[in-house]
Every structure is written in structure tokens, then in C-alpha cells.
Amino acid sequence: MTDSFAVQVRDLCKKFGSFTAVDHVSFEVGKGEIFGFLGANGAGKTTTIRMLCGLLLPTSGIARVAGYDVYTQSDRIKSSIGYMSQKFSLYDDLTVVENVEFYAGIYGLNRDRKTALKRTREESGLGDFWNRLTRDLPLGWKQRLALTCAVLHRPPILFLDEPTSGVDPISRRRFWQTIYDLAEQGTTVFVTTHFMDEAEYCTRLMILYQGRVIALGTPAELKAEYKKPTIQETFIHLVDR
């Protein structure tokens, strides 16, 4: 396999006991893409992301992330990716800056720490909340902080698992603006979402149904193929049958 792809997956499977969560999934994500990953609850999206992040071992199949093999090189993968999980997973009893400093430490970003923190403070727009306890932040700002921590080490690939779940329209817009900026700078973004308007912003989409890929293409291609005006309707058409 070549390294021109950020993510390369072939016949990936994951079984939990007798249940097949991910069933022979194959796809590639090019560098700098915003790759949308759609599916009903329980379709296997989170399982797939966890395998690609080195949190779960696949049952079978091939998967390479940033050119590294998920079976043998998960350490290398972990320094090349940022990950934001469905569940908000920063420390509630720490302040914003303490969370940022913690992740800076975890990723070994101790050189020029001061300037890095200052830059982060400005770029993230979290300045007003900098010394507040994370638990007191509105949800939209928490998500923003989670994203800030996930990209602190400037990973070439970013995995976002329902990053905007429950977030209001304004915060979602701000969040997506950051994602465009990151993609513009060359970051590959792999994102799952239940907001179909967000799906429209992706460069390519993949729809998973009961662990299998049922559609893959640009939003325009998918809408054209199924003759639907929006991704929302395309999705409902494909999944609700």
C-alpha cells in the first residue's frame, strides 16, 4: 500500500462474540479530506473509529492510518492522530488551562510551552473561560475545548465521533469553521455526525448500515445517484427500508 492515503481500510471486520459490529468495510481517505461517516445508532461507526485509533484490535482485515498498521504500529498511530470521543471526556474538575496543559504534557509539548499556550488561548477563543472550571462551561464551549486539546499536537489526522451532539446551531457553526480551517491547513478530518447539514459540508461521505458500507461518494454524487435533493433524504431513503 502507498502512503498517499491518510486512512486505508480493506475488509475490516470486528466481532464481539457472535455479533458482527463491522462487516468487511473497505474505504480510503485522502490527505486533507473531510470524510463524513454516517449511519444509524449502532451501525458500527464508533467501533470503526476505535479500531482506527488503536483502541480496539480488529478481528480481521487490513487498516493503515497515516501509513501505519493498526495491528502492529498502534504507538506510531497514536502520535499521528487526534481523537474526540462522543462522550465529553475532559476533566471537569480542572480549569480550561489545566486541561490544555495536561494534554500538552501528555503529548510531550514542553518546548516553548508558554508561547504555545498563548497561541492556543488566542486561536481557540477560549480566553474568557481560561481559568474557569471546565464543568461550568456551556456545552458548546466544552466541545470547543475538547477539539482544542485533540489538535494541540497538530496531528495530521483527526477523528471526531459525533463532536456536535446536542450543540446549538451557533456553536456548531463555530465548530465547523475550525474544522474547515484545519482541513485547509492539510489536516485530514474523519467525522461522524447525525446532523445531515453537516454531512453536506464533507468532501466525501460513507454510509454504514448494520456494519456494512451501503454508500460511498461525494455528497453531490450520492444525491444524484438516489435522486434526492438533500443528504437527509438520501440517508433516510438508504437506511429506512
Binding site: R50, C53, G54, L55, L56, L57, S74, D75, K78, S79, I81, Y83, S85, K87, F88, S89, L90, Y91, D92, D93, L94, E98, E101, F102, Y103, A104, G105, I106, Y107, G108, N110, L133, C149
Partner: protein
């Protein structure tokens, strides 16, 4: 690697400091436990409430009653006037025993049956009360004998280290061992299980951090916290129970560090095997309290245990710490005699941590 360990350590300190209520519990729990158990578990009987039914009302009978009261073992709390009152008073728990002196106690010079009625609902205390009364009566009758008798043999016990045979001296260091272990194991087991529950562990696991770094970073702050708890608890034991301190405090503190290390490693070990805080709490409570109370030699001497339990007691860290703490506090022995126990504790902790690191998944399953 250093930066990652430091990051975890700093964060862990923030968690500790942000939660003053839990911090207070960490310090107060062992102290309260030691206070309660220190007073409750005692093998000495003092000031037993005694009823007096004196049918004789003579100088002699008063002298006998007086000798009971003066012994310190009994306190006469109720003067009874007829036998039927004895049972009522015992039933109401006003008295635990009654001394019944017969009517001709002074006049007659025969052997008298002085009766002691004892509440037998607690068999242990009943036996002790019976023995004590027996001894006091014997003592009293010896002093009243016109021709003192010289026994042929006498045992002259000389008791080393705890000459007053105060059981608190024996029990309080044991309590320190038990509850220090409990608190330390709880600390580490909960801190990792909590991160599993909130999902923050998942977020750390996608970074290049290793199991070794997580575990070192998580354990170190608690060694310091555990040490502070140990200091507080030992000062408390010394001040409140006036447990003697014959050896060097500094040596005890240094050796305690090894015990804390072993205790924390139990918590880490538990936390790598469970998913929730609740289970972590249960497992570390039961897993530390029971063995260290029953198998450490705290209450039951190891030498008198069945063979199987004696072997099991070899993996109970409290067993070794009891030797250290009793050795230094009561016997006043020092580092040289005790360093081996510390070595065993260090080995115990390192093996558990080693297994934990080995089995700690930087993945989510398992």
C-alpha cells in the same frame, strides 16, 4: 516520558486539591476508625458497673466491698436491698455483676460463699469478670488470714515491652496498619476506575502514553498523600492513646513508605481489573480489611493459625508492617532488624505493579 508522567502527576494533584471533602475523608476516615476501634476493641476490663447486696452490713463486709471498688476493675454503682433486685438491674444493664455478701460474713470465721452474680450475655466479659472477682476475693482472704501462708512456688512474670499489658498499646498500632492499607488501596483503585467510567481514560489512551507512564504518574502523588495520612494517623495514635514510642520516629516513617507503596499497588492492581468505581471500592475494601484483620497477626497470632492460613498470611502486607510498627513503637528496635520486612513490602508492591502494568490494556477491551 518524564513530561507525560509529570502531566499525569500534576493533574492528579489538582484532582486531590479540588475536592476538599474527599481529602478530609481520606484523613478523617482512618482516624475515626482508629478512635472507634481503639476504644471498642479492648481486652482489658475496667470500671465494671457492680451492684452490691450486703446482707451483713458490717465493717468486714464494707472492707470487702471497698477492696473491689479500690481495685479499679469494679465501680459500685448500685446498692441493692434484696436479691430480686439483682436480676432487674442486670436486665436493665445498670450493672454487669452483683456482689452478694452473706449475713454472717463478719461473725463466722468459716469459709463463706460470697456470691458474684454475672451477666453472661457477653461470654467474654463474663469470664473476665468472674476471673477478676475470684482473684480479688482470693487476694482479700489472704490478707485477712491470721497466719499468712507461704506458697511453695510462685510465678513471677516479667513482661517486656508492654509492662502494663495495656491492650491499646497492642491494638492501636495494628489499627494503624489496617486502616492505612485500606485508605491507600481505595485511593488508587478509585482514581483509575473513575477515569474508566467518565471516558477520560479513552482520551488518554489515544495518545502515545504507555501503561508504565500512566501507572507511575497515578501512583506517585498518592505515595505522598498516603505518607501524610500515615504521619497524621501515627501522631493521633501517639497523642490520643498514649501508645509508647520507644524507637526512632524517622525510621518508622521511612519504613512506612514501603508499606504505603505496597498498599497503593493493591489499589492499582484492583483498578486494572474492574470497570466501575463501585466495584473498585468493594473489592479493595473487602480485599484489604479482611486479610489484614484476620491474617496479619493483628488479633490472632499467626503461630496458632492452621498451616494453610499461615501460608496465606505470607502475602498479607499488614503482617510485615505490624512487625515494623510494633517493633519500633513498642520494642524500640531499629532499622537493622526491620529492613527485611520493608524489603518484602517493596517486593510485594513491585510485583503487583509489574503485573498491573503488564495487564493494563492501552486498549479498551480486556
Amino acid at each position: 516520558m518524564v513530561s507525560r508522567i509529570a502531566a499525569i502527576m500534576i493533574k492528579e494533584f489538582f484532582h486531590i486539591l479540588r475536592d476538599p471533602r474527599s481529602l478530609a475523608i481520606i484523613f478523617l476516615l482512618p482516624i475515626i476508625m482508629i478512635l472507634l476501634f481503639g476504644y471498642a476493641i479492648t481486652f482489658d476490663i475496667r470500671e465494671i458497673p457492680l451492684g452490691l447486696l450486703d446482707h451483713d452490713r458490717s465493717t468486714e463486709s464494707r472492707a470487702l466491698a471497698q477492696s473491689f471498688a479500690a481495685s479499679g476493675y469494679f465501680r459500685i454503682v448500685k446498692i441493692l436491698s434484696n436479691p430480686s433486685e439483682i436480676e432487674t438491674a442486670i436486665r436493665r444493664r445498670e450493672i454487669w455483676a452483683a456482689l452478694v455478701i452473706p449475713a454472717d460474713f463478719e461473725k463466722s470465721r468459716q469459709t463463706h460463699a460470697v456470691q458474684v452474680v454475672i451477666d453472661g450475655s457477653n461470654a467474654n466479659t463474663a469470664i473476665i469478670i468472674g476471673n477478676t472477682a475470684q482473684a480479688l476475693l482470693l487476694d482479700y482472704s489472704l490478707t485477712r488470714l491470721q497466719t499468712p501462708m507461704n506458697p511453695l512456688f510462685r510465678i513471677e512474670p516479667r513482661i517486656l515491652y508492654n509492662p502494663a499489658l495495656k491492650s491499646t498499646n497492642f491494638i492501636v498500632p495494628g489499627l494503624v496498619a489496617v486502616f492505612l492499607l485500606m485508605v491507600c488501596a481505595l485511593l488508587t483503585s478509585i482514581t483509575i476506575a473513575r477515569e474508566k467510567e467518565t471516558g477520560t481514560l479513552e482520551q488518554i489512551l489515544v495518545s502515545p502514553i504507555t501503561a508504565l507512564e500512566i501507572i507511575i504518574g497515578k501512583t506517585t502523588p498518592y505515595i505522598i498523600l498516603g505518607f501524610l495520612v500515615a504521619v497524621a494517623v501515627l501522631i493521633f495514635a501517639k497523642v490520643v492513646f498514649s501508645v509508647p514510642f520507644r524507637g526512632k520516629p524517622l525510621e518508622l516513617m521511612v519504613l512506612s513508605l514501603f508499606y504505603i507503596y505496597a498498599s497503593l499497588s493493591i489499589g492499582v492492581f484492583v483498578s486494572t481489573r474492574v470497570r466501575t468505581q463501585q466495584v473498585a471500592l468493594m473489592v479493595s475494601l473487602v480485599g484489604t480489611l479482611l486479610p489484614s484483620i484476620f491474617l496479619s497477626g493483628f488479633i490472632y497470632p499467626i503461630a496458632s493459625m492452621p498451616h494453610f492460613l499461615r501460608i496465606l498470611s505470607l502475602v498479607v502486607p499488614a503482617r510485615y508492617y505490624l512487625q515494623i510498627i510494633r517493633g519500633i513503637m513498642l520494642k524500640g528496635i531499629g532499622f537493622n532488624e526491620l529492613v527485611w520486612y520493608a524489603a518484602v513490602l517493596f517486593l510485594f508492591g513491585s510485583v503487583l505493579l509489574g503485573i498491573s502494568i503488564k495487564s493494563f490494556q492501552t486498549k479498551l477491551e480486556g
